[in-house]
Subunit: 224 residues, 2 copies
DNA sequence: ACCTGAACACCGTTCAAGT
DNA sequence: ACCTGAACACCGTTCAAGT
């Protein structure tokens, strides 16, 4: 509903002189500062401009709306997380199911928990404007990384690695999101940390072909 | 951040005469209509009041903010879902692990998919204002329903049913949410429908004590 | 008890005028 | 090429005046 054309979300002007690059940077960091200090609800264009030391008009030369300010921040954060997952995927290529499962789950948790404040802030922003496309892109990247990883697991075969990767990405992303949004005491986060890897392994085991499941399960019995 | 006191979200005035009850109802349905017709972004107090056939001032006698309008809708929707889950829990009491797992997953999916439009609209609203408390309450109710259910499963023992219930609720809620937010083609929803029950069972099997896992797994091999 | 709607404060966005 | 800030349109909320 009411989604702006994608290119409108990008800075509308590319810097030609060095001073404008500085301006863009200043606006960007000012947005983060205001976001952390006052929350999304109190983030106004005037406040950001003031903090950045420029006039509102200047801001509108580089960011076409208020949304674009927030968009830039979310984009950077999603980038960090996607990169962490791609690195994990590379590192885990060819390892066994349990290692892959654990590796993905903890990589995801680490990436999200690394900057709790930013993560929470971003979930706070989420529906303030339309993040669907941005999230969708990030998710596709994850699926594209996980899918071949699943194919390369030596001790399991998946009927449809693409579907499994899709579901796994949704499971990881969604579970963490809900826990963080719901308020999430330290206890809750600790539980999440313990249980997410199990959920991940549980699903993957279930999605793998049956004989694998049995084999893998016997291994698990070895180490309670 | 910047959460209004809970009681401010409720109607500030209880109807004394029958005409005000009518007014409240009119405002409520007008909000839904505007939401569905124009989206959250275009929902304004004037528009709602106009559609309800009252003046803005009247609206503010019963709903202290714009947020309260949306709050009322989300509350009703969450209520429906929670109720569906409680009923499912009652129905599943004492059944075996697989039945319980499947029952919960499909009850959840059915409740969410029953009114796709509303569900999406609600996720769209979600961060527009602070739903944390509302969501938290709904989640607690679910955990309280699931936890005893897990205890009553005859063919499995859980080390900590509360933790498992907590995680299961997060898993169900989050996964569906992410898939719906990301845009979700019909294909994606179909995949979700197929995979969520497996994820649910996978996690529960993993969370159950090992000997159960093995037993349950043999059963599964019987019916591929 | 309930309703009205002009009035107020505030915010996002623009644009004519500057360097 | 880049910046300024008054001006405009719009929206959430209030309150004195009505029935």
């Amino acid at each position: 509903m009411n989604r702006p054309a994608p290119d409108l979300l990008k800075p509308r002007k590319t810097p030609q002189q060095s001073r404008s690059t500085v301006t863009i940077e200043a606006i960007h960091t000012a947005t983060i500062q205001v976001l952390l200090a006052d929350g999304v609800g109190r983030l106004t264009t005037t406040r950001v401009a003031e903090r950045a030391g420029v006039s509102v008009g200047t801001m509108y030369q580089y960011y076409p709306h208020k949304q674009a300010l927030l968009f830039a921040i979310v984009e950077r954060q999603l980038d960090l997380i996607v990169r962490a997952m791609l690195e994990a995927a590379e590192r885990l290529e060819g390892r066994d199911l349990r290692t892959v499962s654990d590796g993905l789950a903890t990589a995801w948790l680490d990436a999200k928990m690394a900057d709790l404040v930013s993560s929470r802030a971003i979930y706070g922003i989420a529906a303030e404007f339309d993040l669907a496309e941005l999230m969708s892109r990030a998710k596709n990247l994850m699926v594209e990384a996980i899918s071949p990883l699943l194919r390369a697991v030596p001790d399991a075969r998946f009927a449809d690695p693409d579907v499994t990767a899709f579901m796994l990405a949704a499971l990881l992303g969604g579970t963490v999101r809900v826990v963080m949004e719901v308020g999430s005491s330290e206890d809750d986060l600790e539980r999440l940390r313990q249980e997410l890897p199990r959920a991940c392994l549980g699903y993957l085991t279930m999605a793998a072909c049956p004989y694998v499941r049995q084999r893998n399960d016997r291994q698990l019995l070895g180490r309670p």
